[in-house]
Structures are given as C-alpha cells and as structure tokens.
C-alpha cells in the first residue's frame, strides 16, 4: 500500500510537471501576446511595448522565462496577471468559490438523485419504470450542458419568468444578509439544475450496472434459500457491495469540479473559473492562464490519487503490489 501510494504520488507529480511545461510552451509560442493587446490597436508606442515586455521578462528567451516562472512558483507565488495587474492567486480565489458553489452542490444532488433512480430502476429490470428512466438517462447523457442551460433559460426565465437568466446576484439591488443569500440561491437554481441533470445519468447507469452484477452473486440465492427477507438482503448486502463504483465515480467527478462546468458557467454568465479562463485566453494573459491550468491539474491529480486510496481501503479484494 505504501509503495503503491508513493508510485501514484510520483505519477501525479510527473503529470503536473508535464502539464506545466507543455502549457508554458503552448501558451508562450502561440501567436499573439498580452503586451500587444495591452498596447491597443491604434498607435501603439514601440517604446512602451519594449519597456512593458522587459518588466514581465517577456524579452528573454523562453527557457529563461520558464525557469523564472518555476522559481517564483516554488516560492508559492503564481505571479501577477499582466492585463489586470493583480496577483493571479487572488483572481483565482475570487472565482474558485463561485465555481465550487455550483459544482459541489450539483455533484451532491446528482449523486443522490441518480443513485436513487438507479436503485428504483434495478428493483424490477425491464419494467416500464426502468425503460422510461433508461431512455431519459440516454437523452440527458447525450445533451450538451450549455444547450440544456439555454433551454432552461428559455422555459423558466423567458417564458415563465421564474428565475433570473444570468449572473450570481442582482446587480441593481445591493442586498445584504439573508436577502443576499436568497438572491444568490435564486440565481443558482438554473445553473445547478443544468449541471445536476447532466450529472444524473452517470450515477444512474453505474448504480444500475453494479446492482445488476451484485444481484447475480451466489450469496443472494443462499440468503433467500435460508429464508432471509428480500428487502433486508438488498439493504444489508447488495447495496453495500454495489455502492462502491458509485462512490468512485463521485470521487472522479470531484476531480473536475474546477474545470468541468466552464460552458454552463458561460451560458449563465456565472462569475466563475470558466469565464476567467475565457478572458485569460482572449487577452493572452500568460500568468493567469498558467495559474488556472496549474490549479486545475493539481486538483485533478490529488483527487485521482485520493480516489485510488479510498478504493484500496474500501474494497479488500484489491491489493496493490
């Protein structure tokens, strides 16, 4: 176990380094740069461009820039945004909470609803309920999140006028306290609804598949033959054995809480990481782009390793060598 953990952590570390170097070169070698954008379209002053480039070290060879970046990174500094002239970590922290509010809420909702529906459908395989749920699952599974978001806006905002179409708070009202919380909740309904609906089929399918396998196991027949109550067998044995893949799926989803909802955030103009990335790309804001990507890849790597550890502890059949 210890050796396995060490190996996985090493892979995680390697991934982050690969991602770092790959992105650095991709971003810096691509056409367009932040200084030209900053200098403006008409009448840019060459002198000013040169000074600004020197200030951010962009006049040096790329490998020197990479080395400088890594050195500041090792000090725990993600650098300064060139366009917004603020620390990258500050910009990310401002948005990260907003994104997590959406993604974590919908991840938990999708887990609960999807698993419950999966269990309901597994009780009588091939029944009308099972067929209808499976069909809905297929449709939702195939749906682009941003499109579902637009359709929900069309239905609930434009037509029924129940919920606001975009943003996180009403910009015209400056709410405080409970009113503020309620306003945010109202703005959350549609984006969280979209992400939840998109997330449900994954849990539905995995629950159904693993229950189908567990229900076929021999011990069920044994317990039934021994006269045990069918519901009790299900609760005590089948469910416990079948829930493991569901939890793993949940863990894997959590790995993508930062990056996974970018398009849905953009549909609802939610002030999260998705919009931050898009603006960083459009303005070629190198340090910001690097910072966002670094945070994302570290979180993915850490979560994947945690899921592996959990799996190794939870399932005694798995022994890593």
């Amino acid at each position: 176990m210890g050796r396995y953990l060490g190996k996985r952590s090493l892979t995680g570390l390697l991934t982050v380094i690969v991602v770092l170097v790959l992105n650095f070169f991709l971003i810096h070698l691509a056409p367009g740069d932040p200084i030209t954008i900053l200098a403006g379209m008409d009448n840019p002053s060459q002198e000013l461009i040169d000074i600004t480039k020197a200030k951010y070290g962009l006049d040096k060879p790329i490998y020197v820039q990479l080395w400088t970046y890594i050195k500041t990174l090792l000090k725990g500094d993600l650098g300064h945004s060139i366009i917004q002239a603020r620390p990258v970590s500050q910009l990310i922290m401002e948005r990260l909470g907003n994104t997590l509010l959406l993604t974590l809420t919908s991840a938990v909702l999708a887990l609960v609803i999807g698993t419950a529906l999966g269990i309901a459908a597994s009780r009588k395989p091939g029944s009308a309920l099972d067929n209808v749920l499976s069909l809905i699952a297929y449709v939702l599974y195939s749906m682009p999140g941003f499109w579902l978001g637009l359709m929900l806006i069309l239905l609930f905002s434009s037509t029924l006028r129940l919920f606001p179409t975009s943003g996180m708070v009403d910009a015209r009202a400056s709410y405080t306290g409970i009113a503020y919380v309620l306003d945010v909740l109202k703005h959350m309904v549609l984006p969280v609804g979209t992400l939840t609906l998109i997330g449900i089929p994954g849990y539905f399918r995995i629950t159904k598949a693993s229950l189908a396998q567990v229900l076929k196991d021999d011990y069920n027949t044994l317990f039934l033959a021994a006269g045990m109550d069918e519901k009790k067998i299900f609760r005590k044995y089948c469910f416990r054995n079948a829930i493991l893949p569901t939890i793993t799926t949940f863990g894997m989803r959590l790995a993508y809480v930062i990056a996974g909802s970018a398009t849905v955030e953009i549909v609802f103009a939610w002030p999260g990481m998705g919009r931050l990335v898009m603006s960083a790309i459009n303005t070629r804001d190198y340090p910001l782009l690097m910072g966002v990507y670094l945070v994302t890849s570290v979180s993915v790597a850490v979560w994947m390793i945690l899921v592996d550890i959990f799996y190794a502890i939870a399932d005694p059949r798995i022994r890593y060598s």
């Binding site: 991934t15 991602v19 056409p31 195939s142 637009l150 598949a209 398009t263 070629r284 966002v292 990507y293």
Partner: protein
C-alpha cells in the same frame, strides 16, 4: 491446422456469435437505425436541404413556417438546411478524432501489454500521466491559441483521449500473450511484431471498438462545446456554432439554438447506444 487458421477461426466464430447477440440487443438496434438515418442525411445533404446553408435567403430570425420548417437565423439563413449540413461536420470530426484515439490507444496499449517489462513500465507511466491531464482546458488552449480550424480540433481531441483505449488494449494483450495459440505461433518462428499485429490486436480489439464508438459521441460533444465558446472553424456549418449564434436570441428566436441542439442529442445518443450495445454483447457478465 496451422496456428493462423486457429486464430482466424476463433476470430470468425466470435464475430458471428457477436453479430447475432448484437442484433438481439435492443439499444444496439435502436442506435444502429439512428446512425443509418444520420448517415443518410449526411450523404444526401445536397438533395435533402431545401436551401444553400450559406445563402442569406430569408428575413432575419423568421419563425418556423412552411417555407422554413425550422425558421431562419440572425443572418436570414435557413436553419433546417444548416442542421442538415451540420451532420457532415459532426460525423467527420467525431469519427476522425475517435479513430485517431483508437489507433493510438491500440498500438500503445498492445505494445505495453505484449512486451511487458521495461516497455510496459514506461508506457504505463505515460498512459497514467495523460489520463490525469485535464483535457478540456488543454483542448481549449490549443484551439484558441493555435487556430480553430477543423484539423486542429480533430487532432487535439484524438491526441488527448487515447489513454482509455490504451488501458483496455493493454489488459487484453496481457491476458492474450499467455494463450496457447500465441505460444504456438512463437514456436513456429513468427516474429514478435507479427504476433502482435496478427494475433494479439485482432483478438483483443473488441473492447477498444466499443470504447472508440463512445468516444465518437464524446468528440462530437467536445467539438460542440468549443464551437459554443466561439472557437469553431468559421468556414464550416457546425451545430455548436449555430447554438453559439442563437444564444443571443434565445428569448426572441428560440429556434435558432433549439434545433441544432436536438440534432446533437440524437447523433450523440446513437453512438452511445451502439457503444453500450457493443459493450453488453462483448462483456458476458452484463449479458442477460
């Protein structure tokens, strides 16, 4: 009987059994019928489309009517004709990206599993690393910075999605290399690479095929997301871009964004259903 015939017979018998089981699987049949329909639409697009998809023929944002069953968009182009032509782009990007992922995954996974040892250790590490890279942001950066032409989109999706296939193929190769017919082939003096391509890959490719089918669906969704972010190839008619255009008019002209979305759902669902069907038929544990 030579080892080659045994292996070919094995493959043939499995294929026949498999075709029978596949056609008995409901999802697979629905998916296959949907795909046939979609393929026909793509091939017959010039015949089926009432107008030129690029032509500015009607009033702006005209509601669905007899002349324009799906209305017109913000430039007065016929939405139905654009949805029909969009089929071509989605299918092309989806299949080529998935095929690239399938080929890369198969060769890397098979090499790792079959040769084992140091080769396996290194390749497995590479697979694990690529598996951990958050792909959507990477694809986003590459396409946004390197140019959003169709080739870039296909290649970058293919290059980031192969590790799943590689893992499947590797485990197949690991178990196949100990089988009798492989040992027999080795005894008759066939070279290792020949064994890999003639026995290991053909006999172990089935799970990769079903996974690759699913990846066509994922690739279509990824392309749509990119287009929706304004990063689609501007020279093409793509469903994602149509939704991107229609987004602004969602409350006044819903048809511009709604219909291409439905087209995406149907196409993606077809590939998922076929992939699921293949999976169930190939995995005896799931067969009921």
């Amino acid at each position: 009987m030579s080892t080659a015939t045994i292996s070919t017979n094995l493959t043939k018998r499995r294929l026949r059994e498999f075709a029978g089981a596949f056609m008995r699987n409901r999802q697979a049949v629905i998916g296959l019928s949907l795909l046939t329909f979609i393929l026909l639409v793509a091939i017959l697009a010039p015949v089926l489309a009432p107008y030129d998809p690029y032509a500015l023929i009607g009033n702006l944002l005209e509601a669905p009517s007899k002349a324009h069953p799906m209305g017109t968009d913000n430039l007065g182009r016929d939405v139905l004709s654009r949805v029909i032509y969009g089929t071509r782009v989605s299918l092309l990007i989806g299949t080529i990206a998935a095929a690239l992922s399938g080929i890369l995954g198969t060769s890397i996974g098979a090499t790792a599993g079959f040769f084992g040892g140091k080769t396996d250790a290194i390749l497995s590490e590479v697979i694990d690393i690529v598996l951990m890279i958050p792909t959507f942001f990477l694809i986003l950066i590459v396409v946004a910075l390197m140019g959003s032409n169709m080739l870039n989109v296909m290649v970058v999706i293919g290059l980031t999605s192969w590790p799943g296939n590689a893992r499947l193929m590797r485990s197949q190769a690991l178990s196949l290399r100990t089988r009798t017919f492989v040992q027999a082939a080795r005894a008759t003096g066939e070279s290792e690479w020949r064994i890999l391509f003639r026995y290991i890959i053909p006999n172990g490719i089935f799970p990769v095929v079903s996974n690759t089918t699913m990846q066509v669906a994922t690739a279509i969704l990824t392309e749509a997301s990119l287009s929706f972010l304004g990063l689609g190839d501007p020279n093409l008619v793509s469903w994602g871009q149509m939704i991107f255009n229609g987004r602004t008019y969602i409350s006044s002209a819903w048809w511009v964004a709604a219909f291409p979305g439905i087209a995406i759902v149907i196409t993606v669902a077809a590939f998922y259903m076929i992939g699921d069907g293949l999976n169930k038929v190939l995995n005896p544990k799931l067969r009921s």
